[in-house]
């Protein structure tokens, strides 16, 4: 059974169609990649699935575990088992890493909090009491956000540009975690325009101007993306909320 179904999904922002009659089925326990050029609607699709503010006035349906989630709030969707890791994680003045992670953790014990920090390559004693604020680098905040999603133990995780702001060695760690999540049965959706990230997926969906262009195995989609998209002079209408 499809774990997550996007059915005839259309979303217009400021009169421009950003998602245009999109149909995609995501399978449980797989790593999926949504790939496409800038402004194709990739992040918008992730935000719409998560139900972020401004992304709820849709046409079509989104079914999660066989149930329509149209109209559900972000936290209701999260409590059903899905979450989103942002391209640029939020900063929280004064909020300690341990409290940030514990807030979403299924297991709130110290051991569990330490465990997820270690999994993302951060030494707990160096980070637990630090604030999730501008004193952390973008890469550190990304790892802490990832730790918080691991602590939540979601059934579905949407990763928006997981390589953004990450150095090469950290990126390898993140790729390992993505595969660990898959081994744990978590369904992963990677939003990317990076071929390195795309290669981590089991299969991919190529979208452009909010429409599904192609889908299939990674080799096929990579080739299409490299040969057709990178040289294409088509200009997408960007999501005005993403690029205010």
């Amino acid at each position: 059974m499809e774990f997550l179904r996007v059915i005839d999904l259309t979303l217009s922002l400021n009169g421009n169609p950003i998602l245009d009659h999109l149909n995609i089925d995501f399978w449980k326990g797989h790593i999926h990649a949504i790939v496409g050029p800038n402004g194709a609607g990739k992040s918008t699709l992730a935000y719409t699935i998560m139900g972020l503010d401004g992304y709820q006035n849709i046409q079509g349906s989104i079914l999660f575990k066989g149930r329509s989630i149209n109209g559900l709030s972000i936290d209701e969707r999260a409590r059903m088992g899905m979450t989103l890791a942002w391209q640029e994680p939020a900063r929280y003045e004064g909020l300690a890493v341990q409290h940030f992670i514990r807030a979403s953790a299924k297991d709130k014990s110290d051991h569990a909090i330490n465990d997820v920090l270690e999994k993302v390559g951060l030494t707990p004693k160096d980070y637990l009491h630090r604030a999730v604020d501008k004193s952390l680098s973008g890469g550190e905040r990304k790892k802490i956000e990832l730790a918080s999603t691991l602590a939540m133990k979601p059934e579905l995780i949407l990763f928006d540009e997981p390589d953004s702001g990450i150095d090469v060695s950290s990126l390898r760690k993140i790729f390992n975690i993505i595969h660990t999540l898959k081994a744990m049965g978590t369904t992963v959706i990677l939003i990317t325009h990076s071929l390195d990230v795309l290669k981590q997926a089991d299969h991919a969906f190529l979208i452009c101007h909010g429409q599904l262009i192609d889908k299939g195995d990674i080799e096929k989609i990579s080739r299409y993306f490299e040969e057709e998209c990178m040289s294409c002079d088509h200009k997408n209408v960007p999501d005005p909320k993403e690029n205010p």
Partner: protein
């Protein structure tokens, strides 16, 4: 309610029962406990509605353990007037933790007038933590005038994040001599119809004096906050910064009035102030982890005020 219940409300039982801990405990207008340490002189005089306190730290004395002060009112209705005169002699150092505990307050006024003087090279750190009832029937009106001698260091943190604020109207002013350092921070969480008024002023009068005024306030429901931060710099290499952050939710209102005044071409003062709702990205991230909107807002505010 006895004094132990005040200690319990403030989680201070072990501190105030520690025979070695330097402390002074006042319930309304009575000194109920006092423990001094070498080099720390404390003189108290009970008045009709409070206590006059004189504290002197002798020259060169470094008091390694924090000195705990407890100002409590166990009554539901009362006026408490505290006068403090604190003198830190040359090179002396002290860290004071003041606990202002009003767990039963229905109509209580706590008035504090303090004069704090730090001589050359002295250090004084003052954490003032308020624990109030949930009733909101309390008015806290602290005034302090602080004089810093050459190379003195002064730090004060005012926290009112447990229980209802009621009315707070604080006014602190610090005058800084050459090479001295001043940090004044206030963190207050207002709800219901609480009223918060903060006036913090620093005068960097001496060469290379430095100062930071930091205010963090959250106002929810119908609470109102008004923050006046003023920092003046009048000497070469004087450096200062004013930072005011206010979060508003519901029908809360907030005003920030930062004033920076520079009277010397080699002095430099900066300021930043922000007032607004909880950041949407912060909120949605926590909601995407399964927190309700209310719980997410609470966590963000607790972080800001932590």
């Amino acid at each position: 309610m006895d004094i132990d219940q005040i200690y319990k409300a403030a989680n201070l039982l072990s501190t105030f029962h520690d025979p070695e801990a330097p402390k002074l405990s006042i319930n309304l207008n009575r000194v109920v406990d006092s423990q001094l340490t070498k080099g720390l002189d404390v003189d108290t005089r009970e008045t009709e509605s409070g206590v006059d306190v004189q504290i002197n730290i002798q020259k060169g004395v470094v008091i390694s353990r924090p000195v705990h002060l407890c100002f409590g009112v166990t009554d539901e209705q009362a006026v408490q007037r505290i006068k403090m005169d604190i003198h830190v002699e040359e090179g002396a150092q002290i860290q004071v933790m003041a606990h202002c505990v009003f767990p039963q307050a229905v109509d209580v006024k706590h008035l504090m007038d303090a004069v704090i003087t730090l001589e050359k090279n002295a250090r004084y750190s003052y954490l003032e933590r308020h624990i109030h009832s949930q009733d909101g029937g309390i008015s806290v009106i602290p005034n302090a005038r602080i004089h810093l001698g050459e190379n003195a260091r002064f730090r004060t943190d005012f926290e009112l994040i447990q229980g209802r604020v009621g009315l707070i109207d604080m006014n602190y002013e610090t005058i800084c001599a050459a090479g001295s350092v001043m940090e004044m921070t206030a963190k207050i969480n207002g709800t219901h119809d609480d009223i918060i008024r903060i006036h913090e002023t620093g005068h960097l009068n001496g060469q290379s004096a430095r100062g930071v005024l930091t205010t963090k306030v959250a106002v929810r429901d119908r609470a109102k906050a008004e923050v006046h931060n003023k920092l003046t710099a009048s000497a070469p290499k004087a450096r200062g910064h004013v930072d005011c952050k206010e979060i508003i939710q519901d029908q809360g209102t907030a005003v920030a009035i930062p004033i920076v005044e520079v009277n010397h071409p080699k002095a430099h003062v900066t300021h930043e102030a922000s007032i607004g709702s909880v950041d949407s990205r912060q909120l949605q991230t926590l909601m995407a982890r399964g927190l309700s909107e209310d719980d997410a807002v609470e966590l963000i505010i607790q972080g800001l005020l932590s």
